[in-house]
Every structure is written in structure tokens, then in C-alpha cells.
Symmetry: C3
Subunit: 341 residues, 3 copies
Amino acid sequence: MSSAAHPRSLRSLVTHCGALLKGDDSVLLSGIASIASAKTGDLVFAEDEVKLDQALRSQATAVIAGEFAAAARLSKPTLIVRNPKLAFAQAAALFGQAESREGNDESAQIHLSAQIGEHTSIGPGVVIDEHCQIGNGTSIGANTVIGAKVIIGQNCRIGPNVTVNSGTELGDRVVVQAGTVLGSTGFGYVRDESGRYQLFPQIGRLLIEDDVDIGANCTIDRGALDATVIHRGAKIDNMVHVGHNVEIGEDVVIAAQTGISGSCRIGNGAVIGGQIGIGDHVEIEAGVILGSGSGVLSHKVVRGKGIVYWGTPARPLKQYLKELATLSRLSQKRISQKKEK
Amino acid sequence: MSSAAHPRSLRSLVTHCGALLKGDDSVLLSGIASIASAKTGDLVFAEDEVKLDQALRSQATAVIAGEFAAAARLSKPTLIVRNPKLAFAQAAALFGQAESREGNDESAQIHLSAQIGEHTSIGPGVVIDEHCQIGNGTSIGANTVIGAKVIIGQNCRIGPNVTVNSGTELGDRVVVQAGTVLGSTGFGYVRDESGRYQLFPQIGRLLIEDDVDIGANCTIDRGALDATVIHRGAKIDNMVHVGHNVEIGEDVVIAAQTGISGSCRIGNGAVIGGQIGIGDHVEIEAGVILGSGSGVLSHKVVRGKGIVYWGTPARPLKQYLKELATLSRLSQKRISQKKEK
Amino acid sequence: MSSAAHPRSLRSLVTHCGALLKGDDSVLLSGIASIASAKTGDLVFAEDEVKLDQALRSQATAVIAGEFAAAARLSKPTLIVRNPKLAFAQAAALFGQAESREGNDESAQIHLSAQIGEHTSIGPGVVIDEHCQIGNGTSIGANTVIGAKVIIGQNCRIGPNVTVNSGTELGDRVVVQAGTVLGSTGFGYVRDESGRYQLFPQIGRLLIEDDVDIGANCTIDRGALDATVIHRGAKIDNMVHVGHNVEIGEDVVIAAQTGISGSCRIGNGAVIGGQIGIGDHVEIEAGVILGSGSGVLSHKVVRGKGIVYWGTPARPLKQYLKELATLSRLSQKRISQKKEK
């Protein structure tokens, strides 16, 4: 499989990727591919010598390789870079740009009071409510619903069937995949004397800064009285739930199906695995790494840049592994004792 | 951030909240807010003396406080109540009513046989299939799809991009947030001799009683042959999955990302945390409290009003905590022994 | 509750279910039902003698029972089969066929270049992008969005509010429930020197073979450079997440809220419970059974047809249960010791 786009010379990638080029820089590239599926015109990448060998024997036209390749015999034009996967991703972004479309569909229902930028693409069946602002170059997928007073920045890509509830603000280059709900009502209730629940007001906003990516079928609640905030560059996988009043730091990554309860704060650069459950009012310090499937109890503070936590309740990885080993050893011992009798 | 609405005198809240008022009852309020964000015209609440002090020094116009404030020196008009958070929520509900809208969008496709009540708000792109009934005062968000023979009561609020499959019945004042799927086909298969799966019939219904709230991107399956039932007042957070034939009692709360397998029964007033997994045919007795992240094995009965369970398999909290402590102690002991050698 | 359809004689079911018939084969059946809710005209099933007794005393018109019933005194026409639940499911499928509808709604926006088969049903508000192919007899629910170059086979049933991203291919008789997102962008990033994340290209496809069922609000990512593949007959429950480059074998079942990280391979006939987390690059061998709530670490191979695994990290059930018992025993011992002091 390869991306389809207008051909681009290998030379044009050199500056973009900060690469050293070996071989013919005039070759034309039409896309990127995996080594296994590469065809003529494709660019591939190799992170080690085995992959480089496969890449050179593939049908690809050019290769991006790590510095280890500087001394190698290269039968194809090759860009040599420090981080070949990163350079490949950067090159791919250039080819990917060809996909974008322009034009607002006639069937979209855009309120007269909404301000729509230039070069936008608004799909069929989209509904944009009153006093919204949509920035230049932003695309909105079919049947997406944008509530009143929503502000969306420039060059955002909002997928189909997305719901953006009223008052939500998105920065520039924000990506939101299909089916995601932004600015939903948070889950806060007060129980009365009769045991019935009364909704606590959920009138805060949701603010999403620049360069945030949000996967498919996520739910991100608005604040209760104040705001839920996702800071610049955070990357959120599919089906992640973020509760009200949460603050997620810059360049945080959160893998699929993780749930973050209300009023949590996650520091810059933290790495949050998949299917993690984080109780309310938790603070995860900057740079902490939480292993997939962990659970963090309400009101805890998880400390230490680069420290890996795992298990429920989440504890340092080393301790968790020791406990697993201890339990396994003790239960085996018991089996041996039984056998001896 | 504060809710916007028509101004309302503080006096008018007194009866509604059952409060004792200290100070000028003629002040006009335009909304509610957090203490930090309050502006002139806002009502705030304080649950303790520290918060009360902050509230009195904020820009808010009036305060709701607990009985502890009866003897305090109050520089702002203050409603004194037993449960200030509850009173605040009740007051907020009054202001929130200003948000509602009326009118059915021309682009909604409503089957001729459908019966639509008065004062409804049906958004753009909504599809309502044959023989549906929509009660008075109910609103249906844009691009929501309502299958055949669905009955929705009065004053319900159905969000955008919701799917309500055929035959589902909702009572009055039911809230369903964006992206939720009601009445989906349950996951029941029979394996044949060749190892292939044949769907077991999933032709039952989904019944949702009055005052149930359902979050965003949930899935609630219809019954297989009989019905799935959610009783009055249950509150369900985002991304909760409820399987076929489940019965959820009155005033049950279920936090985000919990999954309830087929044929479970959850008693009235039970409190179910987030990311819990409940196997099929489980019975959770009335008033049980299940901690977030727990797992309950199929066919188990979890007993005891007010008893807290935790872990997988779920066990009484006390026992679970003891086991965690034992494991931690044993693995530390082993480390000390190693060091001694 | 019973399914509504054109009446069908009991005789016509005999061949379909491979059954031995006792009693009057000319009775007319109008649907299937549970024993409790059966009315005249309904077919019910009984897997044991207690159920058979209830079935014969119910208002049902005919019964499907196991071979144990061959010698019983039968007061109603009864089909005797090896697997009554399977036969009931097969019979139900016949009645269910009456539900299907035909016709493409005028409000659907179908690109001129799209090829639409015969006897399709395309609902209101559906958007079908350029160069799509939709097979004969396929139905597409209201407000569903089908991206460019999507190929959907024959007799598929795609629910409402579904998103099928560009390039996805579905075989025949594929069922996709409401709110599901197919072919979403996978979660793959490369971190640059400044700590920011750059999306790794996600330009692969999603291939879904014949007879696959996918529940509501699932997300299945396209491949990064190659393809994500779901093989024939796999059955996937609600809110399941499948990452990029995953390969799921034939007749695999996956229960609700399970998440499968990128590049996993799941062998034919494996049974994957609910709320399981599977790390990236895991291989689950054919026929393995993974208990609900388990976690499998990245790069693990889980071996053995018919072997049951449980816990996090997933281990053979026997070992897991022993460890649970050991931990419980040790923590109780400690309590007794304390009491003795």
C-alpha cells in the first residue's frame, strides 16, 4: 500500500528532513510505503542493517536510513539521518498533504451568525450552530455537529460524526477523529435526603490547544464550573475518556481506552498507557510513565520524571514485578509442600 | 465561567432550596459560578469555613453555605442550608432552564406515522422512523437517528449523533448524551459443529424509565428475547456498556467505561465505580458499593447494602487491602533476606 | 416479546434445522419468543427437562428441544435436535429476514462515481464518497458516512451513524452496528529531539472478510503502512478497540471493551473475553481462551488451543487461581498471628 500524491523529487526532502544524501537526488517519489509493499516511486525507511538490506532489495526507489548506513554500499539513493523513523514520518507528512480537499457542501447547515474562514472544507450534513468560528483551512467531516459558540482554529481536521458541544474552543492544527464527543456534560451528582441524584451544574468549558490529536469515539467532558484543558501537543488515542475539570499537559500521550476522572492534573510529557483508570483529583507529575492497565487511586500524587509505574494501585515497576515474583514463588512452594506430604 | 440566563432574585431561591436567608434578599442573580471565576451577579457555594472566607472575598453577589455559617459574620447575602452543594445544584437547575430551545428543523426527516408532541425541538438532520412517539417538550440533537416504534417521553434531552434502535422506550426527563447507542443487538452466539458462530436472536427491547441520565458514547443492548431495563433515576457516565437482558435498579450510579455483561441484575441504589467489569448473570444487591477497576466473576452474587468491594475477583475492601499489604510485606522481606546473605 | 414476520409452517423449519418432528407439522408460526413471554404462534426452545416442562405449559405453539425429549410426553408439536439453542437461533434467522427494507433515500448523498448494487437500502442522510462500491442487498443506516474508495460486499448491514474511512474493504454479510468507526488513523508517533510527537504515517487499509459482526461504538484502525485484517466469521462486541496492523483470525470472538494494540496477531477460533488489554506485537495462538479483564504484555506469545489464561500479566488459569488462594491464605494467617499476640 502506498500514499498517492503528486511526485516530488528526493532532493526536495533533503532540507525538510535534515539529511545527508547519497546517490541520485533527482529521482522522483510518488509516496511512502513499507518495505514489503514498496513499488517503484516509493520511499521506505530502515532502522538497522537487516532492514536496510531488505530495503535495498525491494522495489522502492529511495531509502531513508540511520547513520549506521553511512559506510554501507548503497544500491539506491539514500537519505542518511539520525532518526530514520522520524525523518520518514516527516517526509510522509509532505506527501499526505495532497489528500486535502476544499469546499463547503450545500447540504451543510451553517448558522448565519457563524464565521467561516477561507479554504475550509465542510462536509455534507454538517451542522454548525450560532456564533461559531471556523478557522482558515479547517476541514469538518460529514454529519459532524458543532454546537453554539464553538471556536475552531486554523488547519484543524475534524472527522465525520463528531459532536462538539457548545462553547468548546480548539486551537490550530487540532485533529479529532470520527465519533468523538467534545464538551459533554460531566458526571457530577449530589445525592439528596431521599437517595436520589441531582446533577451538579456542568457549565464549564473545554479548551483544546494547538497540535492536539484526539482519536475516534473519545469523550472529553466540559468543566463543571471552570474548564477542562488539553494543552499543546497532547496525543490521545481512541476511546479515551477525560472527565470534567481535568488538565492535561503539553506533549502528553494517552493510549486507547484510558479513563481520567474529574479534576486530575497530568504534567507535561507524561506517558499514559492504555486501559488505565485514574481516580479523581489525581496529580501525575511531568514525565511520569504509567504502564497499561494500571489504576491510580483518587487524590494520589504520582511523582518522578521518567519513573515507570504499574499495577493497581499503581506502584513503581520494580516493586510491582517483585510482588508478582513473590506471589508466584509462594504459590509454587505451597504446591511442593503439598506434594511432599 | 458562569451560566447565562434571565436574572432571578435571591429571594426566589429561598423556597426552592429550603434555605435560611441572611442579608439582602432582593439582590438579582444572573447565574452560578465557581468561587475563582465568580463575577457580579453570580451565586457561589461554600462547604467549609475556608471556602466561605474565599466566597465572601470573591466578586460573587451571593453565597450558599452550610449550617456552620449561621454564626459567621457574613459580608454578602447568604443562604444557609443543610447541604450547600445540593442546594447549589438545585439553584443551578433553575438557571439552566434558560438554555432550552423550541422548533423542529426543516431538514429533519420525520416519518408521517410518527407522533410528535408539542414544544419539541428536533434538530437538523434528525431521522425519525415510522410509528415513533416523541413526548411534549423533548429535544433531539442534530443528526440523531430514531428507529421505528421508538417511544420517547416528555421533557427528554437526546443529544446529537445518538442512535436509538427500533422498539426502545424512554420515560420522561431522560437525558442521553451525544454518540450513545440505545437498543443495539446483544452479543449472543451459538457455535455450530464446524466452529462457526450463529447469532442467537436479539429481538427483545430496551426500556428506560424516568429521570435516567446516560452519558456520551455508551452502548446499551436490547434484550435477547425479553427486555433490558434501566429503572428510574439511574445515572450512567460516558462509555458505559450494558449487555442484553440486564436490569439496573433505581438510583444506581455507574461511572465511566464500566461494562456489564448480559443478564446481570443491579439492585437499587448500588454505586458502581468506573472501568469495572461485571460477568454475565451477576447479581449486585441493593446499596452495594463496587470500587473502580474491580472485576466480578460470572454468576456471582455480591451482597450487602453499604459494603465496599474491590479488586478482581471483587472482595470486601478490608480483605483486599490486607492482601495488598501482605504481598508488599512479603516481597520486601525477601529483599531483606537477600541483602543479609 | 416476539419477532413479527410472515407466518411460516413448522414443517418448513424441519429441513432448515435438521430436526426430528413430533406432532402436528402443519401449525403456523409467526415468530420466536422466550418461554416466559411466548404467545400463540410463537416458537420456543428448551435445553433441559425443567425448561421443556415450562415450554409445554406456556402459550407457545411449538417447541424446539434436545434429544432428551425424544422419550417425553409432548403436548405441543416439538422439533427434536442435538443442539436446541443452535436450532432455535437458525429458526430465528428465518423469521428475522422479514425485517429487511429496500430503497435508497433521496436525502442520501451518493457521489456520481459510486457503484451501488441492486436491492440496497441506503438511509436518510447517508454520505457515500467517490469511487465507492456497495454490493447487492446491502443496507446502510441513516447518517452513516462512507469515505472514498470504500468497497462493501453483498448483504451487509451497516447501522446508523457509522463512519467507514477511505479505502476500507468489507466482504459479504458483514454486520456493523451504530456508531462504529472503521479505518481510523492508528496511534503511532515518533518523538523528536524537542520532545514533541510527529505522527508516523497511517496510510494502510482495513480489510474485513465475510460474515464478520462488529458491535456498536467500536474503533478499528487502518494499518500504518500495510493492512489491518479481520478474517472471516470473527464476532466483535461493543466498544472493542483494534489497533493498526492487527490481524484477527477466523471465527475469533471478542467481548465488549477489549483493546488490542498495534501489530497483534490473534489465531483462528481464539476466544477473547471482555475488558482485556493486549499489548502491541502480541501473538495469541489459535484456540486460546483469554479470561475477561486479563492483560497481556507487549511482544508476548500466548500458546495452546483450549488453554484458559487469566490475570495481568495473563497466566494459565490454574496458576492464577493458586496465586489468589495463596495470597488470601497468607493474609488471613497474618491476621490470626496478630490476634494470638
